[in-house]
Symmetry: C2
Subunit: 615 residues, 2 copies
């Protein structure tokens, strides 16, 4: 169901009840861009810490607009043994709703816009008919402003934009050149009192003149008048004066109050849908959803706090990420990322490509089963054979399908096997609140409800070199040390992961007298960063001159190697040498007893570090 | 004529010849926003110096996208006694043309987007079919890259993204895990030499693998092969190897060269139209065209230089503006701004509203005459009765009409009167290269070909006060000094212009013991700014947090007063008390002899300062 400003109000109850009755929700967002700073490969360095990654995404991705939001609700129908789906595709645009409302600026990235254009994205629908929204602070401000204006008008001191500390005392000071104008208005109003007309429309005039009229009339005629600013079709504003008795005045005030309340709700707009999702507490499923979650919170709840750079930079980074995790848990208490799920045992061995489109295809094949779904009447049903990828509603829909297939697959390990695993099953709890981290070699996910994994990086070197160097120079430099993996940091530095930790010292010794390049251990690099002056740290990303054109050609890393390949940190992912058959002996409870471990199956790579296998 | 990426190449010769044959050109641009920093009233302070205004516009308006460019050519047909017009409406979008091309980011301002949406602007046409462009530096870089790649491939060292200082020496270093792959490729190529096939399509592979293939084949088979990267429909890249004799090899090289040349021209795209306008040296007319000119140069020629803040801040500002003037004269040697023309004598007295739509209407009425125009066949003709305002092509069209009406009106003062005044007439030279300055009280225009006007500002005070203050507080504070005019600078400061210069000292004395506010003379204010540390100056605008929402309610200035009202600086605009009839006694030559003076007619305000008349 497509939802724009035109049908938003009429659709809201449908949306609310769909959320209310659902077993779980799937979401997806489309944005006006991805990175306003470094190119994506620099934005997502393979050896980022979770703190660094979060900080980079916040700094370089939050100024884009989330302009299409997909929501698909899934409700299991026991009698039909199938899911009933209701997909919604919302178009979002921060249309200023009045003169004093926030005038949002957002960045568009040509490559993202061009990509969406090539997928048939309808920009006119976004910009002409997008649903507005307010975050919580803006909503509170607006409520306050409305309240204030109401009080002031009740006290006869005009509209808030024209209130000054002095203007509430006594009659208005009318500047000389406006005296004639105001006197004429007063005469007209006096005439109104003595004739049979009920209302008087004054000529359109300026804001300043309206202020003077409000003040003068409130002072001269404290009773019996209702004074209101009205807009003509041409958006010219004029004042309408009506003779009213006390009852009529109150009725009008009440009407105005209700109208204001409705305008306020209209302004809050799409945020109300997010509030409903949040309040439902339902499981929210997304695919590679970290950016979706960040954008949703940033746009509809509260701007992700700006990093306030201070001496203990790294500690602060951690506090910053911790803040985000806490906010996320308040807004979305249960999240599940299908890309992370597909990248984890037992799916990891079965799924070669975890991009949404490919995942959806693979999950239709053996050993998985296509879920039985049915789209509710009145909702246009999506056909997965006719891919409508990158329409947010469709992406949310197939993300939900992927989740169902994978969840049901887990049921096949139970004794007896279960064909249907609900969104409330303990079997899927191990996947809760872990958001996939793109292209980090050794940390698969951001753990929203606990501390993050801390992989050892003692086989990693930090190398700085002249900007002419390419990946091949690094291969050549380290050719004596076996296979390496390169993660570019910027034009003149990269992380180089050696396959054997014991080679690190040898590499360090060899480089001692080098002039053109410099090698540090990962530990030295981190120490250096912690000592670094805050200003310098900011500079690394701050002067990227994002509006400048930037011919990039050399910072892509790891040509021809798998994009990521991670080993579980042993303390978290205990590997047990059990076959799927052996592992499927217990009950559902036993199966989930020690969390992730049951989803780890014998790894053909044995004890070798996976991160170096790919090289 | 609507021009998008689809018909751009076919239209180019039509555009070129229209420019070539034209008597003058009219232009207009539509942008994705106006100000990314302060709100517009703060961006355009009534007492900005030309340097300040230019610097603010550059800093806060250049990150928007000029995404629709209107060009209307006007050619006078002597036999028909009318202008033949060719209006073009170009849609512009920086679609990245390949993987290494600039990925432009631009800002959208919700209010501007919403306004254009309300005017029926077609965003899909911009984003899906906009014509790309490159500025001169990008074009040069691309030519260089193409040249370099060509040389390198001729020398057999692969594509530039994979070239390293070491890789041109000897055979490629093939990493262990790719040796099998490369050996298989070599075997296949050897087989190609011994069989009857002419070409061999290798399987799609990674960029790194392609690099290895290029290097290996160039080293192993220095002659008789043509190796080329080709893309499948699915955008997968693979290598095609062809057996060729020397002649065939050269022919293919030539073809490739031509293809590359065409791709390069496609990438330069819309900039070629601007180059043609520039090279033509024709008079370019625009309405309130400063931003159009700045954007056009910034987007299609060279980014307006970033301000490099250094100690002598004010001197630097001037150097900065001087740079801009010089660049402008190179790109557009003859400009004419119809808003400035309409705000100057003799038009000033006759035209009450100089907004484009209103101006166009007023110039149809007595004493002006609607120009006789005819749109060339094949060009959809615009009907001014059906306003299509804010479509750039239409705005350019009516801007041209306004210019013709005003120019012809000047002809009525000649003896004998002339009904047609050409774009080359000396009568209009006084209006050349003077760009209207929006809402500056006492400087009507930016003088592109000379020093700017330097009005006296000794009746101006700079007042700082608590942020709660509104305009009315300032009126009250200065109530003893007669009428004032307020120009807000920011939340806590404003310029206050007194009507009498001799009141300045009294106001200063009165404020001596004030605690809540502070008053400086304009001269003191300027001195203070010059002493100010560079960092602080930058801060004033730099931390405006443009993506933050900002409820503005109090910084609008001068409610109810005319937006601007300026007096000519006497040294430039010498006023002569002659009536139009008296003034129209001489020949055309005599009429233009002392520039602007003939367009000044008796001013009903006599010697009073106009800037205070409005108050």
């Amino acid at each position: 169901m497509e939802v724009t400003r035109k049908n938003y109000k009429d659709s809201l109850s449908t949306v609310y009840s769909a959320i209310e009755e659902a077993d779980f929700l799937a979401i997806d967002g489309e944005f006006s861009g991805i990175s306003d700073g470094p190119n994506v490969s620099a934005l997502t360095n393979g050896l980022d810490t979770p703190e660094e990654r979060y900080t980079k995404l916040k700094k370089h991705s939050m100024d884009f607009l989330l302009f299409q939001f997909g929501l698909c609700t899934f409700k299991y129908d026991q009698t039909k043994s199938k899911y009933i789906t209701k997909p919604f595709n919302f178009y979002i645009f921060p249309k200023p709703f009045n003169r004093t409302s926030p005038d949002i600026k957002f960045i568009c990235q040509s490559s993202s816009i061009d990509f969406l254009a090539s997928q048939g994205f309808d920009f006119n629908k976004v910009f002409c008919h997008g649903i507005p929204y307010l975050n919580q602070e803006e909503e509170a401000q607006l409520r306050e402003q409305t309240e204030e204006r109401r009080n002031q008008q009740a006290n006869g001191v005009g509209t808030p934009s024209f209130i000054s500390p002095s203007s509430s005392k006594g009659p208005a000071h009318v500047p000389e050149e406006h005296k004639d104008f105001i006197n004429r208005v007063v005469e007209k109003v006096e005439a109104l009192f003595s004739n049979s007309e009920k209302t008087l429309d004054l000529d359109p005039c300026t804001g300043f003149q309206r202020k003077l009229i409000y003040q003068t009339l409130n002072w001269k005629f404290p009773k019996g008048l209702h004074v209101e600013t009205v807009e003509t079709e041409k958006k010219e504003r004029y004042i309408q004066v009506s003779k009213v008795d006390e009852e009529e005045r109150k009725r009008r005030e009440q009407q105005k109050l209700e109208r204001e309340q409705e305008e306020l709700n209209d302004a809050v707009g799409f945020s109300r849908v997010i509030h409903a999702i949040s309040k439902s507490g339902k499981l929210v499923v997304g695919h590679n959803m970290l950016l979706d979650v960040m954008h949703t919170i940033h746009q509809f709840y509260c701007p992700l706090p700006e990093l306030n750079i201070q001496p203990f930079f790294f500690l602060l980074l951690k506090a910053d990420l911790q803040d985000f995790k806490e906010v996320t848990m308040c807004v979305f208490p249960r999240l599940l990322d299908t890309k992370l799920m597909a990248s984890t045992q037992p799916f990891k061995e079965l799924i070669t490509n975890t991009s949404l489109a490919e995942l959806e295809k693979q999950l239709k094949e053996n050993p998985f089963k296509s879920p039985q779904v049915e789209t509710t009447e009145r909702f246009p049903s999506y056909d997965t054979a006719q891919e409508q990828l990158h329409e947010a509603g469709y992406d949310a829909y197939i993300t939900g399908l992927c989740f169902i297939s994978m969840a049901n697959y887990l049921g096949s390990f139970l004794t007896p096997p279960k064909a249907y695993i609900s969104a409330r099953s303990k079997l899927i709890e191990p996947f809760f609140n872990k958001l996939f981290l793109m292209r980090i070699i050794d940390i698969p996910y951001l753990n929203i409800t606990g501390p993050d994994l801390q992989p050892k990086r003692d086989h990693v070197l930090y190398v700085t070199f002249p900007k002419e160097w390419k990946t091949s120079d690094l291969y050549q430099l380290f050719s004596a040390f076996g296979n390496i993996q390169v993660s570019w940091v910027d034009d003149t530095s990269a992380f180089v992961s050696l396959s054997q930790t014991d080679q690190v010292q040898i590499a360090m010794n060899t480089s001692r007298y080098a002039e053109s390049y410099k090698i540090q251990t990962y530990a030295e690099y981190i120490q250096g960063k912690e000592k670094e002056k805050p200003g310098q740290t900011a500079k690394t990303w701050g002067e990227d001159g994002w509006v400048k054109s930037n011919y990039t050609s050399s910072t892509t890393s790891g040509f021809g190697y798998p994009r990521y390949a991670w080993t579980a940190d042993p303390s978290v992912f205990r590997k047990r040498s059990i076959s799927p058959v052996q592992g499927a002996q217990g009950t559902e409870e036993a199966l989930i007893a020690d969390g992730w471990s049951h989803y780890s199956y014998p790894d053909s790579t044995g004890s070798k570090k996976m991160k170096t296998d790919g090289v």
